[in-house]
């Protein structure tokens, strides 16, 4: 099963390596990891998407909590939350196909951010599933390049994760 964890950490040099090291050392598989500063400049938020059974996730949460600069760990999976990834896709695009590609992007509510002879670049910010759908739709035209961020996620509703 896939789990999404939000981790608040002190915004220091070296914290990220402590956390990523912990994953590889203990044989946890991470699908993605995204870091950014929070409203409090001393605190960063790491979103981790990881795979494993219940035992693995419980261990993961506990081991993360043991890292001194880790302030809080919350497993979002189980509750309702919104998750987003950002992707830039450069698609091969013969002139004859341009309208078709732009239409596809429009239907998916993706943005065309660059057009050049022979290719277009599409920007898309969505949950992992919809991003994968867009990739599937564009694949037949020939994908030249994909750049993708890690997932970030936030709980729905009136709760907020803070220190």
């Amino acid at each position: 099963m896939q789990y999404t964890l939000s981790v608040l950490v002190e915004n220091h040099a070296g914290v990220l390596s402590k956390i990523s090291g912990l994953f590889s050392r203990r044989g946890f598989n991470i699908d993605s990891l995204a870091v950014g500063v929070t409203s409090n400049p001393d605190v960063s938020r790491i979103t981790i998407v990881a795979n494993g059974d219940e035992y693995v996730v419980e261990q993961l949460e506990k081991q993360l909590n043991k890292v001194i600069p880790v302030i809080k760990v919350k497993c979002l999976t189980g509750g309702e939350f919104i998750s987003r990834e950002l992707i830039l896709i450069k698609v091969h695009c013969a002139a004859a196909k341009r309208v078709e590609i732009i239409k596809t992007a429009e239907i998916m509510q993706a943005k065309i951010v660059d057009v050049a002879p022979g290719c277009v670049t599409v920007e898309y910010c969505e949950c992992t599933n919809r991003i994968n759908t867009l990739i599937d739709l564009l694949r037949p035209y020939g994908i030249r390049e994909i750049v993708r961020t890690g997932t970030i996620a936030i709980d729905r509703g009136n709760t907020a994760l803070s220190v």
């Binding site: 002190e10 070296g14 390596s17 090291g21 261990q59 909590n65 890292v67 600069p69």
Partner: protein
């Protein structure tokens, strides 16, 4: 104005540090120049790994974090095994390393090693200091982190310019505020109540004591709890000494190398209270050592240990001291069912077996048992790693003293340097090392530290001309092909002792050994006793 190096010394003084173990080099010279004129004693070891082991021994017997110091690069990397050992054994320790100047960091200059990076998996926390002003806060935090919660080593890596830079003023903080570090020590009342209900319902409850009971400093109360409730106790290797060996409630060490009755008790129990133990694979190698429907109550200060190695029905996170108090109150005058008491009593009868002796050799298990009564009751025995360790673990009769070994990491060469630390922590106690001929040679360079400081440490070398424990493994699993386990070319250990000016003797029978030990314990000087042991002697 005050320099970083002076601040370092003042921080140590503020923490009440009396002795540090270390080895100097260029990048830590500013600190050494200041400790030279301070009240803190510096003990020069002969290899940095041993500074860490000495700090570990000191820490385990003083209750204060031990401190070790090394220079950058090779000095720091030599520390690693010692730091990793302390980590695996949950021993509080402060490791201080010199580092190249901040403007040279990351340039692979002479004697630069990324020691905070290298130690990442083995430290509870680490700091690379980048501002002299930060030193007091970092020292304060480091001592706090090392000695609270689940204890462990903390590394402070200090570039040379941070040591030489001067700042206005020194002020040691009184409190720490680490937002992500608030260990839960209290113990959950509801869980304790559930635990007591389960204990009262069980027919054959059993306690497994681990090192956590000792590091929480709650040994005597723990003994009183067992005596009152009559719940039998077995221990992990790190938990040996929690109960006096002759207690009616104590059934010995569990595990691969443990007492058969301890394993039998674990197998037959219907409820197990695990106290401050992680139950690694040497303790509980396979789940069928415990019955399917045994109820497990696990008390530990580290939530990550609970449920990691054994399935737990009732987790209690907290310091043993607090949880034991709560348990004690909640359990009232409960006593285990009679039948279980009888079973345990019968098991105790078969507790010590007299092993067969071989002419011309010392029988090590019998000797260790005999040794116990020849020492004063608060004696501290430090065992190394290998068969010698198992002989001690199962046969040394602890009264009020301690049994130290590295149960978590199993680092050969631990005993001699650890005993150095022990002797500084407890100068008036009998401190005895039992080691193998292999492990002795891993740290015999520390004889210089022992001789130089006239430390009355008594070293008993069990000489079997083998890496005995591995030899035994090869006999059992590898068709007795003794690949690299026969020690050839070993020196005459008595001559080694002689070279260091240390008194020595050799024994070829238990009677001979006992005569020598009688004399040995009287002297206030170090002593080396070489015991020739029949090479095929089994571990248990």
């Amino acid at each position: 104005m005050i320099s970083g190096a002076e601040i370092m010394v003042k921080c140590l003084e503020a923490e009440g540090v009396k002795v540090v173990f270390g080895y100097p080099g260029a990048t830590i010279c500013p600190f050494y120049d200041k400790i030279y004129e301070s009240s803190i004693k510096h003990i020069l070891v002969r290899q940095e790994q041993n500074a860490a082991h000495a700090a570990s021994g000191y820490s385990r017997c003083s209750g204060l974090p031990g401190v070790c110091v090394a220079t950058s690069g090779p000095g720091a990397t030599n520390l690693i095994t010692g730091i990793a050992t302390a980590y695996a054994d949950s021993v509080p320790m402060i490791a201080i390393t010199g580092q190249v100047k901040t403007d040279l960091l990351g340039r692979d200059v002479f004697q630069e090693a990324d020691i905070t990076g290298a130690c990442e998996p083995f430290v509870k926390h680490s700091y690379l200091v980048t501002k002299t002003e930060d030193l007091p806060r970092i020292f304060k935090e480091a001592f706090h982190i090392a000695s609270t919660g689940r204890k462990g080593p903390v590394l402070i890596d200090i570039p040379m310019d941070i040591q030489t830079n001067k700042i206005e003023d020194f002020h040691y903080p009184e409190t720490v505020n680490i937002i992500g570090y608030k260990p839960n020590t209290r113990g959950h009342a509801v869980q304790v109540r559930r635990a007591v209900e389960a204990i009262k319902k069980s027919r054959r409850p059993l306690i497994v004591s681990g090192g956590g009971v000792l590091s929480s400093g709650v040994k005597l109360k723990f003994q009183a709890f067992a005596d009152k409730t009559k719940i039998p106790v077995i221990s992990t290797m790190m938990g040996i000494g929690v109960m006096p060996s002759d207690s009616d409630m104590y059934l010995g060490m569990l595990g691969t190398h443990g007492k058969p009755v301890a394993n039998r008790a674990l197998h037959d129990a219907d409820l197990v209270i695990v106290c401050g133990a992680r139950l690694g694979d040497r303790a509980v190698a396979s789940p069928d050592q415990m019955s399917e429907n045994t109820t497990v109550i696990h008390i530990d200060i580290d939530p990550a240990e609970i449920g990691k190695n054994v399935k737990t029905e009732i987790p209690i996170v907290g310091d043993m001291k607090n949880v034991l108090n709560m348990l004690n109150e909640e359990i009232g005058d409960y006593v285990v069912p009679n039948q279980w008491q009888e079973t345990v009593k019968n098991w105790r009868k078969s507790f010590y077996r007299i092993p067969p002796k071989f002419d011309g050799f010392v029988e090590p298990r019998a000797l260790v048992a005999q040794l116990s009564s020849m020492l004063r009751s608060k004696a501290i025995l430090v065992a190394d790693v290998g068969q010698n360790q198992i002989w001690c673990a199962n046969n040394f009769m602890i009264r009020e003293g301690r049994f130290l070994t590295t149960g978590g990491m199993g680092t050969m060469g631990y005993s001699i340097p650890a005993a150095v630390g022990v002797k500084f922590a407890r100068p008036s106690r009998d401190v005895v090392v039992v080691c193998g001929d292999g492990s002795f040679q891993m740290s015999m360079n520390e004889l210089a530290t022992i001789a130089g400081n006239n430390l009355a440490i008594k070293i008993i070398i069990m000489r079997n001309h083998r890496l005995g424990m591995v030899r035994e493994l090869q006999d059992m699993n590898y068709g007795s092909r003794h690949s690299a386990t026969i020690l050839e070319g070993d020196p005459d250990f008595q001559k080694i002792a002689e070279a260091y000016g240390i008194d020595h003797a050799e024994a070829n029978s238990n009677e001979e050994a006992e005569e020598i030990i009688k004399e040995m314990v009287k002297s206030d000087k170090p002593f080396i006793l070489v015991c020739n042991v029949y090479p095929d002697t089994p571990s248990i």
